[in-house]
């Protein structure tokens, strides 16, 4: 029984870490611009697919992987510059549609360019499972969890200890005030998109050896990441991480104990309950409308 529980936990945490990275991407962009970026999942896919493409093209990992992070970051920057900045301040729904449009463009272009097949990457440090109390853990899972944890720490440092990070936080609290004190909120927008895209791409690369990837892999990551971000409370970085992990773990336990047919519904039932009973998510801040 313990082995079984542990197995579900490993499995849930690994996949949950990717959701957490996706959720962080949502959060960073949401804080900087109030936009829910439905193209976030595509950056995850882009990372995985580009890593496969560059390694297949014969580039060494040390070159291929940074490239597979850099290019999506640029794509994120481009997205902010070309599609989000021109309609700043538009209605929520308009912004949602634009990000969906971008996700279609990215997905469609990759499908035409790299084809419709599934692809994998070799695991970074071998395929020999580690046995812990009867459960098995893949070394690649440690990579996913480890790098995610480092990323979260790095982001915490960035937002709380560096000037650019603080500027971005300030913008999320009050755009007008941030502009008054001389923060370039346009640049904040660009940085947030590039960062989110880069984080997503990195996550995509890390999980590809476990999960494989294909041109449409981003849809699911995007949706689950969004669920994670809302579970944690939109706008809260800690919430995003906890929410993402929670979605992954609950999914794994749901598949194991309840019903594997309905496991995909479980995160969404969870989100409805959370929204009904704690509408700001687990860590969201209460905002009072000022009239």
């Amino acid at each position: 029984m313990l082995a079984q529980l542990l197995q579900y936990l490993f499995s849930g945490l690994t996949i949950g870490a990717t959701y957490a990275l996706a959720a962080l991407g949502f959060t960073i962009i949401y804080n900087a611009s109030g936009v829910i970026n439905f193209a976030q999942g595509e950056f995850i896919m882009l990372g995985g697919m580009l890593a496969v493409y560059f390694t297949d093209a014969g580039l060494p990992m040390a070159v291929a992987l940074p490239l597979a992070v850099l290019i999506p970051s640029l794509a994120g920057l481009l997205m902010a510059r070309l599609t989000i900045e021109p309609i700043k301040g538009a209605e929520t729904i308009t912004l949602i549609i634009v990000t969906i449009g971008v996700s279609l463009v990215i997905r469609g272009a990759i499908q035409v360019w790299l084809g419709k097949g599934s692809h994998g990457l070799p695991a970074f440090s071998g395929d020999i499972p580690i046995r812990i109390l009867g459960a098995t853990l893949m070394p690649q899972s440690l990579w996913v969890l480890g790098v995610s944890a480092l990323l979260v720490l790095g982001l915490w440092y960035f937002f709380n200890r560096t000037l650019s990070g603080k500027a971005m936080l300030a913008t999320s609290f009050n755009r007008g005030a941030a502009e008054l004190v001389g923060i370039n909120t346009g640049r904040v927008l660009f940085i947030s998109f590039a960062m989110s895209a880069g984080i997503g791409a990195l996550g995509g690369i890390l999980v590809t050896p476990i999960t494989l990837t294909s041109f449409d892999a981003g849809v699911m990551f995007g949706l689950k990441g969004f669920v994670g971000a809302v579970v944690g409370g939109l706008g809260s970085g800690l919430g995003a991480v906890v929410g993402g992990l929670l979605v992954g773990v609950i999914e794994a336990f749901g598949a194991g104990f309840l019903s594997s047919s309905y496991k995909d519904a479980i995160p969404f039932i969870l989100i409805l309950f959370i929204l009904f009973f704690m509408p700001r998510g687990l860590f969201g801040v209460k905002v009072t409308d000022r009239v």
């Binding site: 079984q4 197995q7 579900y8 499995s11 499908q111 994998g120 499972p129 999980v207 476990i210 995909d264």
Partner: protein
């Protein structure tokens, strides 16, 4: 060039122009989740339509392929079928990549009366028999029976079924549940996974902890079975693993890596073309298809493209025999197809059987040293 030569050339050209093309309609899932099925299917059709046209067409008329992509959405398939029938006025239709797409087209096709060769997997396409609907490709029931036969032969009586939640797996699951008792086998675990799932270890852990499981039967296609296979290895499960007919491709071995070793899967002869003995009746046709496809598209063949090949040539042969594209006559000739050797096996249609394949048309393959070989 002589004047006669020029006249002849002009004559040939003008007759080619004058002859109305025979229109081949097709709705395939070239994008969306079923894209890796629809893609080789379309490529196969395009290739052979071009081929036939280079050889002078069919009944002296050129062929024209009218193709629409349903994006793996059954509702779109229905609209495109309408377009093929009403607007393009095609002579026959090959396609409907998925069962959902096929079934959404069937009511229109039956009403309009157009010969229809489906490429979908589920048995509902041809059972009950529908006047205009044929499919010369394996059904999930045959696949289930073929796997269960093999299990029985190996003395396996208790199995775990793991099927995907897409149409292929769900229909396969239903068929397996239906016929399993016939082979004296019981399903002691019955789990599913999503076609886009990235991890199936919770389900497999559950299977591992179910007492008495002697083999795992995975019913799915695409990347899912590869992930499942990897997870099985990772969890240290050593039970025999059987896959249905959705994985027999080079891609599967590449994706699953070393975990694929020893896995059994169903596939048509096409997947082991180069290893078939020369005495095998399917040898010429599969070799020719592999050569043509890989030569033109520079990628590995898949059984799905092979199915498109078989279905397309069955209707082409029927048109040749009928000597016309009259829909009723072509339909009758398709139904009269006998001993057609395709990439998927020998097809013998009757009024009661619009599929015409038996369970031995699928070969039981095994991964040995990173390649598919026929299992002993």
């Amino acid at each position: 060039m002589t004047i006669g030569g020029i006249a002849l050339a002009i004559g040939v050209m003008s007759s080619a122009i004058a002859a109305d093309p025979i229109k081949v309609g097709s709705v395939l899932s070239v994008t969306g989740p079923a894209a890796f099925l629809g893609d080789p299917e379309l490529k196969t059709l395009q290739m052979y339509v071009d081929d036939l046209n280079n050889q002078g067409g069919l009944l002296g008329r050129p062929l024209q392929l009218v193709h629409y992509d349903d994006g793996s959405d059954a509702n779109k398939a229905n609209a495109f079928a309408k377009r093929l029938i009403e607007d393009d006025k095609v002579d026959f239709i090959v396609g409907g990549t998925t069962t959902g797409s096929t079934m959404s087209m069937v009511p229109l096709i039956e009403k309009a009366g157009v010969p229809f060769m489906s490429l979908a997997g589920a048995v509902v396409v041809v059972e009950p028999v529908k006047k205009w609907v044929f499919k010369a490709s394996t059904t999930d029931r045959i696949a289930a029976e073929r796997v269960l036969t093999d299990m029985k032969k190996h003395g396996i009586t208790k199995i775990a079924l793991l099927s995907d939640t897409a149409g292929f797996g769900q229909s396969g699951k239903a068929q397996t549940e239906l016929v399993v008792a016939k082979y004296g086998i019981t399903l002691v675990a019955n789990e599913t996974y999503g076609p886009k799932d990235t991890d199936a270890s919770p389900q497999l852990t559950k299977i591992r902890n179910t007492p008495g499981v002697e083999a795992i039967f995975v019913f799915g296609f695409g990347q899912g079975p590869a992930i499942v296979t990897k997870n099985i290895k990772q969890l240290g499960i050593t039970l025999p693993v059987y896959h249905a007919h959705g994985v027999g491709s080079e891609e599967f071995i590449k994706l699953a890596g070393p975990a694929a070793e020893g896995v059994r899967a169903l596939a048509p002869a096409l997947m082991i073309a180069d290893k078939l003995p020369n005495s095998d009746p399917q040898k010429p046709v599969v070799s020719a298809y592999v050569k043509a496809f890989e030569g033109r598209w520079k990628e590995h063949v898949s059984m799905f493209g092979g199915q498109a090949h078989d279905n397309f040539f069955i209707v082409v042969d029927a048109v040749k025999r009928a000597g016309t594209v009259d829909k009723e006559k072509v339909r009758d000739q398709i139904e009269a197809t006998k001993k057609y050797i395709g990439t998927g096996g020998e097809v013998n249609m009757t009024a009661a059987d619009h599929m015409g394949l038996d369970m031995w048309s699928l070969r039981m393959l095994e991964v040995k040293n990173g390649a598919w070989v026929e299992a002993q």
